[in-house]
Subunit: 413 residues, 3 copies
């Protein structure tokens, strides 16, 4: 059954039906995934000599791998060479990122966590990261989420407690993978530095420019399902030298329970009409501004991203440029399917040809939009105002509404 999570607090770790599933008892505290299993087997079998030149998954030290208790010490030496991805000689920038607990969702009472550049500014989505190809970033993640909160989010008491930072698209070593099996997560109260390298486009490399995202991979289980569900995710854009810069960037995360950025219905569009503050729940732009959306899928469900009145190119940048043959081959679209883990970028000129107004932005799965997976791109005029009655023109004939008389006919042409 293709399930759709209706309660974000629910933990999906029930054993599948349809057959007995034999899970070996976890031999160490960190295991449980197939990867963990491979590591375990490696640890057990390493007493066997491994031939040089062959394929062998175990380490070549000739002695059993250390158990969890000994790992930190031994790993210190090995870590140095594998800490940064090749090409990242030294970080170009360093920043701190805090994982904190936020007030529970007022509508659902679900736990909310967030990433922030400061503990006070943590949010979901977390801060939008921007890099340019060639850049190396060092991000120190501080886990300030109470241990009790993290413990409550897991169903398997053997699963470790911590948060992590896993990123899509850019380059990182296993030490920045943000996974359990690589021990690259952060226990409560601790911190850890992750290295991201936006490897540039060269003859030998296709580069890493693109619309990506980052997220926890540890909270609640080996895939971070509870971390994602609670709010530990954010957008990342890697630009290539020469890429056009937008005037505004919004992150729209399409997720379970018919949510955009974990909100739905009125909670997804909280723009103040007098002083709208652009943000995750207030998509607003002036006429002619270049607006960029980083669209991300999370959770269990499929979605489609649709904007009224605007379209974009289905390319790396959301724009179509180049020779006539190239441009002619590129689809222009206004609706795009995305599954969990997918991310793409949309660039539009607000109100281009269509003018100001309240332009709907929604999932086009009908039951999703009907249940509130819908918000609005508010396009203001050049003065930053919504023109009177923009989007308020009434039908030409007897006024709409439930009580409207139905018999009239008035072709207003």
């Amino acid at each position: 059954m293709d399930k759709e999570t209706k309660d974000i607090g629910e933990v999906v770790l029930a054993p599948p039906d349809g057959g007995a599933e034999h899970r070996p008892a976890p031999p160490a505290r960190l295991l449980g995934t197939s990867t963990g299993r491979a590591l375990l087997v490696a640890a057990v079998m390493l007493a066997t000599l491994v031939g040089v030149g062959g394929l062998a998954l175990g380490g070549g030290t000739g002695r059993p791998a250390a158990g969890p208790a000994q790992r930190p010490v031994e790993a210190a030496a090995a870590a140095r060479s594998a800490e940064r991805p090749e090409g990242c000689v030294a970080p170009d920038r360093r920043l701190n990122l805090y994982a904190v607990e936020l007030p529970r969702d007022p509508a659902t009472n679900q736990v909310r966590l967030g990433y922030g550049l400061t503990p006070q500014t943590a949010s979901y989505p977390g801060p939008t990261m921007e890099m340019i190809e060639g850049e190396c970033l060092a991000i120190t993640l501080h886990n300030q989420v109470p241990a009790a909160t993290l413990e409550a989010l897991r169903t398997d008491p053997e699963h470790p407690v911590g948060v992590s930072l896993h990123v899509h698209g850019v380059k990182y070593t296993q030490q920045s993978d943000g996974t359990v099996h690589s021990n690259s997560f952060v226990p409560p109260g601790a911190s850890r530095t992750y290295f991201w390298f936006a490897k540039p486009r060269t003859g030998a490399s296709q580069g890493t420019a693109g619309y990506w995202w980052y997220h926890d991979h540890v909270v609640g289980g080996p895939h971070g399902t509870q971390g994602l569900r609670s709010g530990l995710f954010g957008g990342l854009v890697v630009r290539r030298q020469g890429d056009p810069r937008p005037d505004r960037t919004y992150v729209t995360v399409f997720g379970d329970r018919q949510t955009i950025n974990l909100r739905r219905s009125a909670d997804a569009d909280t723009c103040d009409p007098v002083d709208p503050v652009p943000g995750p729940t207030c998509l607003v732009a002036k006429l002619g501004e270049r607006v960029e959306f980083i669209v991300i899928g999370i959770g269990d469900d499929m979605h489609t991203f649709h904007v009224h009145g605007h379209s974009w190119a289905d390319t790396r940048t959301g724009l179509a440029e180049g020779s006539k043959a190239l441009v002619d081959s590129i689809p222009i679209i206004d609706n795009k399917t995305l599954g969990p883990g997918d991310s793409f970028g949309v660039q539009i000129v607000a109100g281009d040809s269509v003018g100001p107004g309240h332009w709907m932005l929604h999932c086009h799965m009908q039951f999703h939009s009907d249940l509130g997976m819908s918000t609005t791109l508010h396009v203001l005029d050049e003065n930053g105002q919504m023109p009177p009655h923009a989007g308020g023109h009434a039908p030409a004939a007897p006024a709409g509404g439930a009580a409207a008389p139905a018999g009239g006919h008035a072709n207003h042409r």
Copy 2:
């Protein structure tokens, strides 16, 4: 739970579980969406002076926006400038479109509505629209669907009664948005003119050429779910100067209940063998004809579009042309995922290399095709005939069928 609608008559407006959802009482008859909410807030707060140059969602008139009852009058003046999208100086063509009620689905007894260029020719899908970039179209929609029918399709008595015309891909102002919040729908017995502009590709514009669709956005709820479910949709192709023209164009709408154009099983393929009439339930072509499919996803479910024996380029046109590097980069596919709201175009040469025959066209989700989401592209020979036994070659060994003996072996090479 990822639901799949089994009864098209069902209305999906049930409140989601998993948490209390606080819906504010609708203050006016048109509200209920988050967009509607923003409009309401705007109306309430407009007495507050709005600073010039800032971002403000409310109108800048300095007085409260009119309530629904007053809107039509006030909107008349504002409408003139915002009626047509920029670039559409005057319509190049005008046409009438009629929304009517059709006989109920014989298999399911569900309500059927259709668009038609005349009331007598209404169908689902509606007429396939074709535009060329640069063209501006004025379409006057006449709502001839009985009010009682539309009332029966809504569950919320506050939701207005009407039909609309919402289009993908081309340019239109809020007045042609076809939505409730913009009052751009048509009450029963009334009519309204919508303007579509196929903005051309220029240095500053990526153009609007593509495979699109149009549909109701009002029947039953603010996303037109009941309108779509009943048949109010159709295909639109916008061509760019120089695009290849097909010999035949078919629209295949993949939707809920395992349907193609709202039909399944035998109802999806009703070609008369002697005098097949090409249409939504009869896909037929002669060998060598260029056939174009406009593939559209509607409803709640994901699908994949697959054709036997034929493939196409995953580009704007369905064709691959240009430099070797460009062509080499373009995927050729014969199966493509589409979600609700997605639309794309396929161009194939009927029977190219593979000859005449009954070529299956189906959703490749196994339970969808097993339940009848499958039809046939009948490719006839040059004389417009199906060769004897095309697709009728029996297995070389003991004849197939349930009763066939199973032991024989006859390699016919």
Copy 3:
């Protein structure tokens, strides 16, 4: 309801609810699909004279088409011209393919079938086929699956018993379609030769180079749902002259019950740490090797394919090459949605920039990965060894694990 098959043995042929479905009684043993119906109608109506030049689905012989019992004899003559697709003058290669029954799935007890180049080497996925554009392949399929097994997999006793070979992307006539309505399947104990033509790219043809797959289309029902579910599928890559060759190719089939190649959890990653044997359940490569994945979707569910630490171009080859404008337009991705029937190729350089390690490869739908739809790409160092602690670096602060103290703070920068 969007179902997700939990028991592969289940047969999905239940009539849909939501309305009466009138299925005409099957007039012959082969019918049941809409295509079958069209054939039947053709047979019935062919006594009517068919006008030359018009469109007619029935054969032009002027006499009723033969019923199933007579078909084999009559088809013999017609078969000769329609046996091979246009352009395939003579097969460049011939090979045998055996469909056999394999031991049942140890975890679920479900039936397992496989294709093999010999009966002894049959597997699921079947052997990966490789062709180059211009090549014509003759594959003789020998059905060695016991009739009783095939009979048990169908619920409709009218459905024929046999296996077939249906292929995506390349060219074939109806006689190589592998479907029931075309009688191109193989009863138990029999064999049949299928012809595949990898039509080349020319001015008039877009070619057939791409990542494709082949599968049964007959077992259990007219769409081969039970054949697919049991293991009758495999990958096919068609290369274009000049395409880069990988060092290793893996097929990863994403299917129902949260499976990769029909396995999940530990069964999906069975690499021996000392002597890993590359294969469907052991994805392993040395640092710097070019690894190709053929990614295929089967069954009823949507999935997303994600690899940690690596990314690829969303093109025909998985690589991005050409002019700056072209390359700049191509999305680089590390996560891609695929539905049943979809197939695409990924090319990566193992460990590029990121080094050796246990790199997760999983479906990013959270409940899928949590339920075991996850495996590992094991990237070894240049010597074919997994470096000590690759992927084993512990958190800098208090060791992870359930019992770890949560209060410590140790920024290891």
